[in-house]
């Protein structure tokens, strides 16, 4: 019962992510590549997915997207935003835009 709910929520999150990503890419691909943190290859694939494919991809027991940071510093900055350090959001933005984009390895 609880697992079913969880699966449902994961599927919804996946689907909204995919749909948002796709509409961002169709609107302005270059800006979307920055905002999503993916490479152009990935953006091209997402752009071309049909609605049926989106639904199929979303139906999974795993989330399709994951954290964009692998760095404790960025996590601290983002979660502490507004409370502690001065301009933590800007600091995180500088660090995050220097991260490599998520791409494909053939």
């Amino acid at each position: 019962m609880r697992t079913e709910q969880l699966m449902e929520q994961i599927r919804e999150a996946n689907l909204s992510y995919l749909m948002l990503a796709q509409s961002m890419i169709r609107e302005d691909k270059d800006a979307a590549i920055y905002r999503l943190g993916v490479s152009e290859d990935v953006a091209n694939i997402l752009e071309r997915l049909s609605p049926a494919q989106l639904v199929r991809m979303a139906a999974s027991n795993m989330l399709l997207f994951r954290f964009r940071f692998d760095d404790r510093l960025i996590v601290d900055m983002l979660s502490d935003h507004g409370a502690g350090k001065l301009m933590a959001g800007s600091h995180a933005a500088v660090l995050m835009s220097a991260r490599p984009a998520a791409g494909l390895t053939n």
């Binding site: 302005d28 691909k29 270059d30 800006a31 590549i33 920055y34 905002r35 490479s39 152009e40 760095d71 510093l73 350090k85 001065l86 301009m87 959001g89 800007s90 600091h91 933005a93 500088v94 660090l95 835009s97 220097a98 984009a101």
Partner: protein
């Protein structure tokens, strides 16, 4: 003349670009450098877009502005976005600058910051980087890349966000007044 032989389509593109630049608050000199349109046409376009004559006088040419605390953070955000776009997308040149500047404005708005970096400043920053007067260097503590003078030593560089100067952010009014050069005034 070059103007005669240019195609209508590329002319339209140039006008479009000039209008976009003017709308973002770029000075006339930026428009002149980035398009091949004649000065008179740009002047007319500028007036039409902004509803006022362009400010006269030279562009701010000091690289030191980019070194003071708040401007340095803002220009570093901008150049990181720009470099990301250059690295991961097909945008180049002025198009990449425009897009990066829009994303920078978005950042400023989302975080409730002041728009410290004007488009003309952002554009000058890229010119200074091209001319090797400025570059980016990694901070020893956080690893982020920040705008620095090319000629300084950077082995032990620590950015203004890891090591916040004691007075930083306390002078709310003073930095605004000092950065309010001509292009900020017309934006306001």
């Amino acid at each position: 003349m070059v103007a005669r032989s240019r195609s209508v389509l590329s002319d339209a593109e140039q006008v479009q670009l000039a209008a976009e630049l003017a709308a973002l608050g770029a000075r006339l000199q930026v428009l002149e450098t980035e398009t091949d349109l004649s000065r008179e046409r740009l002047l007319r376009l500028y007036k039409e877009v902004r509803g006022a004559s362009p400010p006269k006088g030279m562009l701010p040419f000091s690289t030191d502005w980019f070194m003071s605390w708040m401007p340095n953070i803002h220009s570093s955000i901008f150049i990181n976005i720009y470099n990301y776009l250059r690295c991961h997308t097909a945008s180049e040149g002025i198009r990449a600058a425009l897009r990066a500047y829009r994303l920078y404005l978005e950042h400023v708005e989302v975080h409730g910051l002041e728009r410290v970096l004007s488009f003309t400043r952002a554009w000058s920053l890229l010119r200074f980087v091209d001319g090797k007067l400025l570059k980016t260097a990694p901070c020893r503590k956080c690893g982020g890349h920040y705008v620095v003078h090319s000629m300084d030593l950077h082995q032990n560089y620590v950015c203004g966000l890891c090591h916040v100067p004691s007075r930083a952010g306390k002078t709310r009014k003073a930095p605004v007044a000092s950065t309010a050069d001509l292009d900020e005034v017309i934006v306001a």
